[in-house]
Symmetry: C2
Subunit: 347 residues, 2 copies
């Protein structure tokens, strides 16, 4: 591989600088992405391997990030399990018109064979690997069982996730049945992604932070651990990113993952002291820094590099996805600043 520093950093192995990529790096802030989307809707883009490959590789070509992440959506799994998924532009995000609200609803959904029902993802991974020609590694991903369940029960994104909360609080057994099905689905999905060419995988627990610490462990982290145990045998590094879960970083590190993803509420220097001897860290710049002047972006990059300190095991990233109205030049300054400023931390 021409540039494998991302994979080395996942294993806390020495590199000559800190690798960098951005969550949602294949996205609306890129004019080239918007040009593809002008011709096709979001789900068709996810399901057309040639197009998914094209937008996956865009940030590698345009910004020279150190890893590609396959273009897809976490909600293709619930759809593969039998739920109708609707993604309409500018109408408040994706939604499930028939959310899971009863035992019957939950019984009906099926653990899918990823190579059949999600073949388009595997095809996109294979085609992207081929098109990348080993320039940089390719990351696969999935939502966590809890995050998927939250959407499937609520029907859409939400501030309070009333129905998802009612399920876990009022009917924990039924919640566990759903989460168990999801854990099996996600484990098979990630394994299939690795077999199809993903060289690392990331589990996104976007909604872990709306739970109490106890509920986070019981309804989210327990299943993430199960998935890691099953997926680990495939040999690809596993990144776990639980947003707003700074209270449970040691427990996240103890799942057996290789990398813990951090949002910007964490001080990466303190986190390194806490879990950095066993786990690599990914993150964690406030995504809104990319609205600011280039010199301010570089200053923040330097501060985070200093917080982490010298040595290996840091993958630079934002603390959440890049926002859709960020100027491309600011994203470029971010990537370049990490590449240039991090060298002295690896001497």
């Amino acid at each position: 591989m021409i540039n494998d520093i991302f994979l080395k950093a996942c294993k806390r192995q020495p590199t000559n600088r800190t690798p960098v990529w951005m969550m949602r790096q294949a996205g609306r802030y890129l004019p080239e992405y918007r040009a593809v989307r002008a011709k096709t809707d979001f789900l068709t883009l996810c399901k057309t391997p040639e197009l998914a490959t094209e937008v996956t590789i865009q940030p590698v070509d345009i910004l020279r990030v150190d890893a590609a992440i396959i273009f897809s959506d976490i909600l293709v799994i619930p759809e593969a399990m039998g739920m109708e998924l609707i993604v309409e532009e500018g109408k408040g995000g994706p939604r499930f018109p028939s959310p899971l609200r009863s035992k019957e609803d939950i019984n009906k959904i099926q653990v899918p064979d990823p190579n059949e029902k999600l073949k388009f993802v595997m095809d996109a991974l294979r085609l992207t690997r081929k098109s990348l020609s080993d320039r940089v590694p390719l990351i696969g991903f999935s939502g966590s069982p809890w995050t998927l369940a939250a959407y499937m029960v609520e029907g859409h994104g939400s501030k309070n996730f009333r129905y998802a909360k009612e399920l876990i609080y009022n009917e924990p057994k039924l919640a566990h049945q759903l989460l168990d099905k999801l854990a099996k689905s996600v484990a098979a999905y990630l394994s299939a992604q690795i077999e199809a060419g993903a060289q690392a995988v990331q589990i996104f627990d976007t909604w872990g932070g709306i739970l109490t610490q106890d509920a986070f462990q019981e309804f989210s982290l327990y299943y993430i651990r199960q998935i890691i145990e099953e997926t680990k045998t495939k040999g690809a590094p596993i990144i776990v990113f639980c947003k707003d879960c700074g209270h449970s970083l040691e427990k996240i590190a103890a799942t057996g993952c290789d990398v813990v993803g951090l949002d910007w509420s964490n001080d990466i220097g303190m986190v390194r002291k806490l879990i950095g001897s066993t786990t690599a860290l990914q993150g964690n710049m406030d995504p809104t820094i990319l609205y600011t002047k280039p010199e301010r972006i570089r200053q923040e990059v330097k501060m985070i590099l200093e917080k982490f300190g010298k040595g290996n095991g840091h993958i630079f990233n934002l603390g959440h996805g890049i926002l859709p109205d960020i100027p491309v030049e600011h994203a470029r300054e971010f990537i370049n600043a990490v590449k240039e400023e991090s060298v002295s931390f690896h001497l």
Copy 2:
């Protein structure tokens, strides 16, 4: 005073049970509140002392909470500083049509005399104290400088607070000028509230959690500390509630406040070990628990009481405001459960 256990708990003094109240307890979940609101708009309600008094006392009469909190809104301060504030029903929350976006905008706003520009709040406090006849203590409140600034710069609530973030990141000096004006305004406002009859005050830092730890200290907690230093001389207990700031609890406790408010992401038992020897704790039940069955509500109350453990210095509350569609009977079960189940923790 007939029931002063809330004030005793603020000072970690012995009580025969745990006091309880709810953030937003004077709110839409009460039919009696909706009846008042049917006759008047939100800001008129805030500005009419007789009506504000009526809805402030409703949860004391209906649910028998252990403290009243004056009905008002955190955004009356920016209005008193010279900004136009618009609150329209069902149109995405309050907004400032002319947000602060330049040095000129920030220079224009004035530190108000609270007894002149916010006299309606002082009148409501005096009238409420009179109407309560010392049945329970009356709490005053304010937004924190950072949380007020975030609204004033953005113009409205936001997911990312792009403009507020740009201000602190690109123009920190100007941000500090604004925050300094706000800190002076809030300190005078809270002091005036105490003089008008508030027996404790709470500072709400709703948006502290969107900042990095460093920015939280520089742009939020620094000013909260200043306000506490000035307001402390008035003798009323001070509660600080910074939502999603579990990373900085020791620093919040070190501001000199009497009580630290907790959202539900914190384990109150662990927090007590951390800061409970110097500070009382307020919280911290997930507000969505109130959607669940009464027996589940009681179970959660018992669990939180057990986490805190025996002894004094706990004020029971939700981890955020009560949601507008909670059945009143569920709120009642919550209040009663705390009153009944907490006795054995005070023997």
